[in-house]
Symmetry: C2
Subunit: 706 residues, 2 copies
């Protein structure tokens, strides 16, 4: 009696009945731990057991095989050795079971033999319509139906956070931490190696799951970028999505790679992808935990103006420092708020934000300060700090603060510093669902997490717009050039080929004409107009200036003629084997108030083509000022890309120079974005320098690799 309206995903995450394959009664055995968790969690569905060597476990009947299970079982939890898994999946499929959580290890992570086993398992799954979580996973928890299908030592409290983690170990650490911090979860999903159902479908499920208000991901590497990104994007439209990623640096990534076999792209591209999707990123475990606490509180904020109430100057100042580091604004208190505080506090209060209620403050002063700050229309949230001074009734203050905040919808975060003296206050905040952090900085971080969410939402409203209709790119032309280069077995485009591709996309590259003799060079230079730039053209030379192959600012015919002879002989002497096709003549670009920029396309191993932007010229490598964004871009996203670099400040009016033509820079980025989308063979492009002046932009040099 299989229910045809139920999918494999439903079976995995909303199972109405489950079979434990490899159930055991030996204490400590996997099959016993999972059974214990399932029963302890109060699962409301039917539990069936499978094990050929037992007739009864914990008073329940045991089936010898999957085939002997009754009809209507939806989910199997498979805990038997890897070698048995493919045929168990077949048996599940034949018995009408739609979902399988495979905890067994020994697949791709152990090498070729395991990978073959994984292929065979997936083949059976696909043939029989079984969807799989894992293998090598901790399992799945769904608190709304009392389902704990994991071998975690700790149970999850009910709550509204859904966690998806590529590390089962992290799930257990989170659950253990959460149990004393009163943080609850709707779901805890361990991906394992994600052979079948992976981040994409898991996120999709949580995005529409009524039991889940917010989503936290722990990522080590992404197998399939497109489903991941589109699921992330859809989910972040309706729920806060927080992502922590391990392997930000090459050193760490090596370890991640060996651990899950996932691809590891460049970290700044991952960052750009999250930004594009509207997800929040946290950088360490401390923030991951505190973000969980604040998401659990259900608090949301749209503003970033923070008020700080404290009974000690120093911690207030440290919170303020950290707020500035995190881009949080300290709220300017309204005159009415100041008057209220003047009335309620001793004369020597700090008369500003942070609001120092002074060391001998008791519940009334704290209550008055919190009430006044929350009522101030210029305040979006309040962080309350208490240090346990000799006469401070920490818990009474906590109660007073909770009462004072009861009527307000603005976020309230607390930091009762110390340990023993504040333990009962912290417990009180936790039971009342108010985030409480150990240090002032952590409280500010927690607020930053809510504040950033609002900002990220605005990114999501952006959809790509078409290029300016007056100038559609000649994609066919560009592709023809690239095909010819590929046909000749080359990968780097010559200067003239590069110019043809750029021109096809309407990009303002400085004009170039080829001279094969000194006389031709002089004629072309005269036509171009002095001064000119000369560059040797050879398919064998990419770094022209290293072999004396570039000359700037040639002012007359004689200089051009001399330069031609010197350049060709210098190149011939230094690289005798290089084929020399001639010398390219360009006008010397000397724009008043010109700024040198760099615009490029990179190819990320995970996310594919990426647009990069930053300061140009030779300083680029030195300064590393570049930001990346995933195409397609629209004007708003191009603006955001520019704004994330230091070049942005340089494009603005600067030391007497008028602003550069920012709109032209943005148009350039849109065209480059179009190239990244339309020319999949283009592996790498480096436009550098691009001169941006008040009069527009000009590309001076370009390097394209296919």
């Amino acid at each position: 009696m299989t229910d045809q309206t139920r999918s494999g995903i439903d079976a995995l995450f909303r199972p109405r009945s489950v079979a434990l394959v490899g159930a055991s009664e030996r204490p400590g055995a996997l099959g016993a731990v999972v059974l214990g968790n399932l029963l302890d969690a109060g699962y409301r569905g039917d539990v069936h057991l499978v094990n050929p060597r037992h007739r009864e476990i914990r008073g329940r009947p045991v089936h010898a095989t999957v085939g002997q299970l009754p009809e209507g079982v939806e989910l199997a939890i498979v805990m038997t050795p890897a070698a048995t898994v493919p045929e168990l999946i077949t048996a599940c499929g034949e018995r009408g079971i739609r979902g399988a959580i495979v905890m067994s290890a020994g697949f791709r992570e152990i090498g070729a033999a395991g990978a073959a086993l994984e292929c065979s398992m997936l083949e059976q799954a696909s043939r029989h319509g079984v969807r799989i979580v894992g293998p090598n996973c901790l399992g799945v928890i769904r608190t709304d139906i009392g389902f704990n299908g994991t071998f975690s030592a700790a149970q999850a409290l009910p709550g509204r956070i859904g966690v998806i983690s590529q590390s089962g170990a992290l799930c257990t650490a989170i659950l253990d931490w959460a149990s004393v911090n009163a943080v609850g979860f709707s779901s805890m999903i361990s991906t394992g190696i994600g052979a079948d159902v992976d981040f994409g479908e898991m996120i999709d499920f949580l995005a529409t799951d009524a039991a889940t208000d917010s989503i936290m991901l722990y990522v080590e590497g992404i197998h399939r970028a497109q489903p991941f990104l589109s699921a992330l994007r859809a989910a972040a439209r309706t729920k806060p999505v927080v992502v922590m990623k391990a392997g930000r640096h090459a050193e760490g990534s090596r370890a991640a790679q060996s651990h899950t076999g996932a691809l590891v792209g460049s970290d700044n591209v991952f960052d750009a992808a999250l930004r594009r999707a509207g997800a929040l990123r946290v950088m360490d475990f401390a923030n991951f935990f505190s973000t969980a606490a604040i998401l659990s509180s259900g608090m949301r904020s749209t503003g970033r103006r923070l008020a700080i109430v404290t009974n000690a100057g120093g911690p207030g100042v440290m919170a303020a420092d950290h707020a500035v580091d995190r881009g949080i604004r300290l709220a300017e208190l309204a005159p009415a708020t100041r008057r209220q505080l003047d009335a309620a506090l001793p004369a020597h209060w700090s008369h500003g934000n942070p609001v120092d209620v002074l060391g001998d403050a008791g519940p009334p002063r704290y209550a008055a300060a919190v009430t006044a700050c929350l009522a101030d229309p210029g305040v979006d949230a309040v962080v309350v700090i208490l240090t346990p001074q000799a006469m401070t009734p920490a818990e009474a203050v906590a109660r007073a603060v909770l009462d004072a905040a009861a009527g307000s919808s603005k976020p309230l975060l607390t930091c009762w510093m110390g340990e023993v003296a504040v333990a009962s206050s912290r417990a009180l905040f936790r039971t009342r669902g108010v985030p409480t952090l150990r240090t002032p900085e952590a409280a500010v971080d927690a607020f930053a997490a809510i504040g950033t969410h609002g900002e990220a939402q605005s990114q999501l409203l952006q959809v790509p717009e078409p290029l300016a209709p007056e100038c559609p790119p000649d994609v066919a032309m560009a592709r023809r050039v690239i095909e010819q280069v590929l046909g000749e077995g080359r990968s780097v485009l010559t200067l003239l080929e590069s110019n043809a591709v750029l021109t096809a996309f309407g990009l303002p590259i400085v004009p170039s004409l080829l001279a094969r003799t000194a006389a031709e060079a002089v004629t072309i230079a005269r036509d171009t107009g002095f001064p000119v730039v000369m560059k040797i053209l050879s398919p064998d030379i990419t770094h022209k200036s290293d072999v004396g192959g570039v000359r700037l600012g040639l002012a007359d015919a004689l200089q051009v003629e001399t330069a031609f002879r010197e350049m060709t002989s210098s190149v011939a002497a230094q690289m005798p084997a290089a084929r020399l096709e001639g010398v390219v003549i360009q006008p010397m670009v000397r724009r008043a108030h010109g700024r040198e920029l760099m615009v490029g396309i990179l190819h990320d191993e995970v996310f594919g083509p990426v647009v990069s932007f930053g300061l140009g010229g030779t300083l680029v490598e030195l300064l590393g000022d570049s930001a990346v964004a995933l195409p397609p871009l629209n004007t708003r996203l191009a603006q955001d890309l520019v704004a994330r670099t230091r070049a942005a400040r340089w494009l603005a009016p600067f030391r007497g120079a008028p602003a550069a033509d920012l709109a032209a820079v943005e148009r350039l980025l849109l065209r480059v974005s179009a190239m990244a989308c339309e020319l999949p063979s283009l592996r790498e492009m480096d436009l550098n320098p691009v001169i941006a002046s008040p009069d527009g932009v000009t590309i001076v040099d370009a390097r394209l690799v296919v």
Copy 2:
């Protein structure tokens, strides 16, 4: 019977007897809390009580006045209202009491009336030879003599860390936190407003105190920079000194200023001062606490190569990521270590660092991994991470790790993630004096703190060396120029005056000659050699280029003549009131492979003159790539200053350009350092651009303010 060999500092920090002035029996009253703390801590000296309204408190006799105290009392703790303090200090002095801890508030922090009271108190103290800690302080704890002269709610465990804090509230929070973290202290000193004994003397005391192994400071602002720095420097030679400073940003600083009335200088100068003194800086409370834990363990390290042992890939990767962020190197395991690990671990261990002992690891595997890593000569320290998986015996692993590390002198840091499942393990680590942190990142931070200490020590070995003897500066000449400028009531030096001062110190400024007419300009330009640069000279114009007052690359007599006319008329039109003294002619500096740098002197409100260095040209403001150092510099310190900037990479061989003359850059910095020391009237100097090429350095433009 006053002991003449005992100083006021001894009386304050090693009192053999104490009088509580304002002792009380009313529960919660300051005088009762302090008495309780003193008795509970088991103070070994005599305790006397003073209060005119009581005859007996807690069964002890009470004296009506200080004058009635017996002879030989060394320290008074004063808890009475501010107005009574000056005459109490007199009474203390007359009774032979050498030290007073003044807890009372109501001095400079409340304004003019309080400041007057403070003056009067200090006058009496000075007249009668009484040294004062406070006022407005929490008091002093010295565990070696069982002395708790504070109103803190928590007692300090005995230990070897000395804390000096400008926030009493922070002392209480630290003590409360430390009590459950088994972190002990030799001393806890609350400075209060530091009217008399301040950071300098407190640090001096702890530096030579046999009970103190390491020193932690919490600083909000420094009143007296020189004693602070010299004490810090002397202390850091023998003991690790860790400093946390509030008020890194202007927003936070405003609050700090209102809180203690201390001066707040620029944060990067404070940082440079700590670096120069060999002290370590921590940036937030989480790090302050974890650094306390590691100092408390007594661990020290000279190397920065870290091995990570973990039973979960993800947290290992996060630790590795954070290590890279903090400049910690991941140790490369020796072949012998790998062989040992191959023998002890399952085949699928990570085969590298982080050492992943896999999710089902028990005590033997952990012990083997820790033993192997600690024995590896390429490993300086080990971070051990455990996530509590279902079958993980967390505490048994903790014991095994402790046993494995028992024979090693290398630092071992632990991170048992979670809460409930790891609580007993954490307690075990604490009692065994092994640092245990909540997150992998915090464990890495803690190691960074020990590692940085070794590095900081090498800075301390640096003493300034004299300038190159072949070229002593003509200080008298430079001072004459400055005196004349000051005499005329000006503050900005003209170009020719600037050149004179720079030349007096042997600095390579580009030569300048003044032309008063177009004809003079042409003559001078011919003598100088074309092309030349022309700059208008006016005491009223500082930003010459903004008014068309700078022309570059003038190639012949005609261009010079035309430029002279255009410049003078342009300036006259735009700034008719400006006095125009003529036009300065300089050779155009065009050095092959020249890099534009900036070298300057800034004046910090707290620390005085500071040497700054960074990228030059107009990009300076944009990029903010500059570092600062306190003079006097020597070659090693100058190298360190350069190395802290991005300009350092630019001076190295770069894109085919040979390295710039780094030795010439360093000589320039030494001369600028000499200027900062010898010319106290020089408030500000900006040499920008300074062109550094493979052939030397040349200063192209300079701005000096006196």
